[in-house]
Amino acid sequence: MSGPFASLVLRDLKLAARSGGSAALALAFFALVATLVPLGVGADLKLLARIAGGVLWVGAVLAALLSLDRLYQGDFDDGSLELIALSPLSLEQVALAKLFAHWISTGLPLTLLSPLLAVLFGLPAPAMLALFVSLLIGTPAVSAIGAIGASLTLSLKRGGLILPLIVLPLLVPAVIFGAGAVTSVLDHLSNGALGLLAGFAAASVLLSPFAAAACVRLNLAG
């Protein structure tokens, strides 16, 4: 792997792994949310299996949200975003590279951790597979829509508070289809949730770089 696109992806991955280990922190947050829920609602495994899809999807979305400030805000604050903008890549390609790196360092690890947490919720194997596949398909949409929110708020000092307010309503379809895929397996139904989720994710990933690039452009213009 070489070229400006690959080196930008590698740079972001290294930053995710090394600077404060925010990728690992998102995983720890995800595991903690999953641990708190049974403590709150009780240890009934039947109930837990029933709500596992929804709880783990919501937990994964929140964990991914926590790491969104890494996408643009850090680079904007220390000035490296301006240098990246001068690179041979268009800002749309930059946005795609950053989105890809964010998914590899956040969405993918969350997906890989999910079967382990599903065991804690007593989720049967077929539903566990559905959860794994739905997170694998759906987390790119979380990164994509999160990237729009992150680029909109990149110049804000307290962007961390406004970001969830902007991003969470837009992520509703991902949570509904993702958790719906798990529930449909539990109910022995086929409702096409995975297909709808894949469509939503594909559209988000395709359109997000354009919106994010427009936001970066307007913030660098000032």
Partner: protein
């Protein structure tokens, strides 16, 4: 279209129109309320059906206001017109209030009909999400200090929201549905209920237009005052 987008021409035109629109809103709302209180009880819902006359128009205005914000945002991004920003910004708090009104009247109607103030029905839920979209939009406007930058960022968010809104609506419908389907355009509603409803919808729309014009005018004046102060400094 663009002729009226000139702030000076808009100020002149809206100054003439504003008293008429406000008066028409007052008349339509009074007539609508009078008609609304004189409908016969519905055979299933009794007199609670009258809640419809304050509920449905609020929902219509709430959706129209988001449409207005989306169109104005497109104008702002493509043609960089400052009045479009003011128009979009002025509509947002109004839209949020009408959405809240729709949610509150909806829950008051839900109590006698469904036996609960809140049910996780598809339309109620998507309206709640619309309310959050409004809040995020307003919060973004207020969070960015530089006006031009705030306007562009808010416009991008409004367009992303407008693209996503039908998908959110579809996903919530897919998730659950309990609310009754659309019955105005398909002609299933009895004429005795239709007329008060249409009058109220007209009244709400005129009220929104009048308030929106006041807010746009205030926005223009505010902008002028700021640029004068900058020139002084």
């Amino acid at each position: 279209m663009f002729r009226y987008a000139n702030p000076a021409i808009f100020m002149g035109l809206s100054g003439v129109l504003l008293p008429w629109v406000s008066g028409a809103a007052a008349i339509a709302l009074t007539a609508g309320l009078w008609l609304g209180f004189h409908v016969p009880p519905d055979y299933q819902q009794g007199m609670t059906v009258t809640i419809m006359f304050v509920h449905v128009p609020a929902a219509i205005v709430a959706e129209t206001a988001y449409g207005l914000i989306a169109v104005a945002s497109l104008f702002s991004l493509v043609w960089r017109h400052p009045l479009a920003d003011t128009a979009a910004r002025a509509a947002a708090p109004l839209g949020a209030v009408f959405t809240a009104l729709g949610l509150i009247t909806g829950s008051l109607w839900g109590r006698p009909m469904w036996g609960a103030y809140w049910v996780w029905d598809a339309r109620l839920t998507s309206f709640l999400l619309l309310f959050f979209l409004y809040l995020g939009y307003i919060a973004l406007w207020n969070a960015i200090e530089d006006e031009v930058r705030a306007a562009r960022a808010a416009a991008i968010l409004a367009l992303v929201g407008a693209v996503n809104l039908p998908i959110i609506k579809f996903s919530v419908d897919w998730w659950n549905t309990l609310h009754q389907g659309e019955s105005i355009l398909s002609g299933q509603i009895a004429p005795v209920f239709l007329w008060p409803l249409l009058t109220m919808a007209l009244g709400y729309m005129l009220l929104f237009t009048a308030l929106w014009m006041v807010r746009v005018r205030t926005g223009i004046v505010d902008r002028r005052a700021k640029s004068l102060m900058q020139r002084e400094a």
